[in-house]
Amino acid sequence: MSDKKKSGTPQKGKVTLLIATRKGGFMLHSNRQREKWTLQGPILLGSIINHMHLDPRDGKTILLAASTGHLGPTIFRSTDRGETWSEATKPPAFPKAIKGKKGETIRYTFVLAPGHPSEPGIWYAGTSPAAIFRSEDNGDTWHGVAGFNKNPLRRTWIGPKEFTPPGGGGLHSIQIDPRDPNHIYIGFSLGGVFETTDQGATWQPLNSGCQADFLPDPDADFGHDPHALRLHPADADVLYQQNHLGVYRMNRPNGIWERIGVNMPEPVGDIGFPILLHPRNPDQIWVFPMDGTDVWPRTSPGGEPAVYTTRNAGKSWKRMRKGLPPAHGYFTVKRQAMTADLEDSLGIYFGTTGGQIWGSTNEGRRWYRLADFLPEILAIEAVTFQQ
């Protein structure tokens, strides 16, 4: 398999980071030793790029979700690993409302997800306001997944229009069961985690066990606030989420979330945006805690940025900050801005709101600044190219 990224399988090659920023897209290419990094870009300078994702099934198609301050949201496509780009013919959009009714409009596409390995050409997109779209032609044309977007309960699930978080809530996580293309998990702000077993025709909430002390009913079926949801690629019975109130794990078929962040040091806590899974070890994850007190600064607790990892599914946690600023580091790592490559010695990476890319080729024990002075980083994805 040449440039295709197969879930969990160790790979050797040149790692590239696909970097989505507030002001355009970039690609950061490494040499084989991951010691030298070369920046390529910008792509669509000035556009808000929420996500760039390589299709692991062909190793060359990249989709990019773009909007700007003035212009509406769209999707750009490259079929040559980002050398050239063309716009989707029909980007995600809600249907036009019948006369006299008020229709919805897409604010932006937040996440792009390639479909199941058995379904080449299929992609999914999550948007703000929370909705899910599907493409069957490599991202050129998109249509809404009616079972969610037209579901009579959708407005109840995603919350009232009048109550949206700053920046707008959205559908930020789409995770497809590697064993079954019909089984898909989604996560969206102020709604929670949902799953479908019939490729989106029907959806069920999956939030039991999650705390939600901000809700009138803390045990409500929905109304929860996952920040990032991840399904383990090597053990698809294991799910993790970094939630508004903590770090959680679920073991299927049991449908109960267990808060595994309770063992994090108390002054730090387990609030954050991103959560990163080891592609081969279902019990190891990394998180980047943030300050969720008072008005929610969303910066590193105490101004001391640090990654935390557990190798035993949350029973204990280790602080990993060597190389990171020891003090006065007040950046934020957003929910899609932490990623891993698939090398034998796993490389993990995160991007900051201050425009820095940090990387470690020993699973977080030592960090290096790989790029600086970029615009605010919204998402990064690591891919491996053989040449």
């Binding site: 003035h70 212009l71 509406g72 716009e87 013919t89 980007p91 959009a93 809600f94 036009k96 409009t105």
Partner: protein
């Protein structure tokens, strides 16, 4: 009919001024999209509303309806609004 294109949309037209045909703004926009695929959706949303930070001016009149009728010698300006909201909008239109 002459249509003046803001810098934000010139990646589609490669020109600051283009020609488009139609008897209403809606028809002009569909003709623009036929010539420059994708341009319309960047400035008009799926509910056929002009996007929040885009203005369309016919001669010196700021329009809000895509059904606005046009005359053959009308000049259409598409403007990407600057920061400042309504005061800024009126200043832009006065200055045309």
């Amino acid at each position: 009919m002459i249509v003046r294109i803001p810098s934000q949309l010139r990646s589609y037209t490669n020109a600051a001024e283009v020609q488009a045909g139609g008897s209403t703004i809606a028809e002009i926009l569909y003709d623009l999209d036929r010539q420059y695929p994708g341009l319309r959706f960047r400035m008009i949303d799926e509910q056929d509303h002009i996007r929040e930070h885009i203005l369309i001016v016919v001669n010196k009149e700021l329009i809000s309806s895509l059904d606005r009728q046009l005359q053959p010698d009308d000049i259409i300006r598409i403007i990407g609004s600057l920061s400042g909201g309504s005061t800024c909008t009126s200043q832009i239109v006065k200055g045309l």
